[in-house]
């Protein structure tokens, strides 16, 4: 099987521009991953394909850089006491099942509606999930940033933690006790999303925060453990089929190992809601970017005709806004780290109520 695949695969010749592009995107993707637990993959895969790398090789090489990056990031954040290994492993186990189901659904759609149908399904999944979840995360972060105060555990997570449904698991670092059965849908959805849009963390991190009840800090750090487990399994699978272009992987890794550690350091400097703010912003911009790609697939399926100039323009705008999502996320992280250099910036803001009380007295 792999010999046949091998013959069909063409590995590209590298030039300086391609190397610089991969290194830079690797660094920025790593920075975002180290800070919010995932990200970068959605730019790297199409980015490599635009350099002429075949789709399968791009996915394989990207995944092969993802798991060591996640391992280094998780290790760094473990040293800061932010990683709940038990939660990561429990989530990864159910995520593995989710990945398999996600792949089956992809194959089913591919056989029924072809590549354009599959692309349309991926884009719709992107838009629906990211707008819903990203919008919620962003609103929550805005609320904390506007009215001050600290992160609180969500009411839903509080309620779920009170339900005694054996087996109950105590997660020490996340500092919570919850039934295993409530972690299953979150892990499963993370895997499903990872198999569909390659960024499981966009469900995993908010799921751990709002459903399981971990803090933003622990959720984003623990996501790196899940990414490592899933990426390791996936990379072995791709490598068995001879699809990993180690040169691309190592160039991206050169940048992303620098970025992931900087992102991890950043989490210790800023207030927790900044993690949500960065995550929500990136998710919403990526959703917009994928929405721009939808007309192209709709036209390919022959559902209705779109002028080719418009399709071309939207495709370019879609990729540009993908890069912008990552760039804006990175700028927000670096900006927050820069402002947090002074100790006073790390103190929680006074709430509006406290301010009003103080001005009245």
């Amino acid at each position: 099987m792999h010999e046949a695949a091998q013959e069909a695969v063409k590995f590209i010749d590298l030039n300086l521009m391609a190397v610089l592009f991969l290194f830079l995107v690797g660094f920025i993707g790593g920075l975002v991953s180290g800070f919010i637990g995932s990200g970068g993959a959605f730019v790297l895969t199409p980015g490599m394909m635009s350099l002429g790398v075949p789709g399968a090789v791009a996915v394989a090489s990207n995944m092969c850089h993802k798991f060591p990056k996640a391992m280094v990031g998780a290790y760094k954040r473990f040293k800061y006491g932010q990683v709940d290994i038990k939660l990561g492993l429990v989530m990864a186990a159910t995520a593995a099942v989710g990945v398999q189901v996600g792949i089956r659904i992809q194959q089913l759609i591919l056989s029924k509606w072809g590549e354009a149908g599959s692309d349309l399904y991926v884009s719709l999944a992107f838009v629906v999930v990211l707008v819903t979840v990203g919008g919620y995360v962003f609103r929550d972060a805005r609320r904390i940033s506007k009215y001050g105060g600290e992160e609180r555990r969500s009411a839903l997570a509080e309620r779920l933690q009170r339900i005694e449904l054996p087996p109950m698991i105590h997660f020490k670092t996340a500092n919570l006790r919850i039934s295993f059965w409530f972690t299953v849908p979150v892990g499963f959805a993370t895997g499903m999303l990872a198999a569909t849009i390659a960024v499981g963390g966009f469900i995993g991190v908010p799921g751990m925060i709002y459903i399981i009840g971990a803090s933003s800090l622990v959720a984003s750090a623990t996501e790196l453990v899940i990414a490592f487990v899933m990426g390791f399994g996936g990379s072995i699978n791709w490598a068995i089929h001879g699809m990993v272009d180690i040169r691309l992987t190592l160039i991206i890794l050169a940048g992303s190992l620098l970025g992931v550690q900087l992102g991890a350091i950043g989490t210790t400097m800023v207030r927790q809601h900044v993690i949500k703010m960065v995550m929500g912003t990136i998710m919403l911009i990526v959703a917009l970017s994928r929405a721009m790609a939808i007309p192209k697939y709709v036209e390919r399926l022959g559902l209705f005709s779109v002028p080719p100039e418009l399709v071309d323009l939207l495709s370019k705008a879609s990729f540009a806004s993908m890069c912008a999502a990552l760039g804006i996320g990175a700028a927000m992280i670096l900006g927050a780290m820069w402002r947090a250099r002074t100790p006073s910036a790390r103190e929680p803001k006074e709430s509006a109520v406290e301010k009003a009380y103080q001005s009245a007295h």
Binding site: H2, E3, Y80, S235, I236, A239, G242, T268, M269, R346
Partner: protein
Amino acid sequence: MAQVKDEPSRPVGKMVLFGLLTAALYGLIFANADWVMEYFTRGAWYAAMPVATVFVFSFVHGAFASHLWSVLGVGVSRKPAQPRPPKVRKALRRRRPQPQLRLET
């Protein structure tokens, strides 16, 4: 990964050492890119080669990256943002006094 402590001192020596090691590893792979690509993409058991390579790179380059940020003074706040919960020692089982037989003399 190499054990790295976040300490206020700037580990310039370690950074240079791991930096040179990283550069040597990259040089080794890219100088023999044709040979590497031929063997690493053969699939089956050869899959161990790319996977082992990224592990080695992540240890060496990861250590270099860590030292680099320390040297550049991109520091960590003194108190960890997520303090580890204190370890709770299990209470010892209380031994209940058992009724004992006594001979009345």
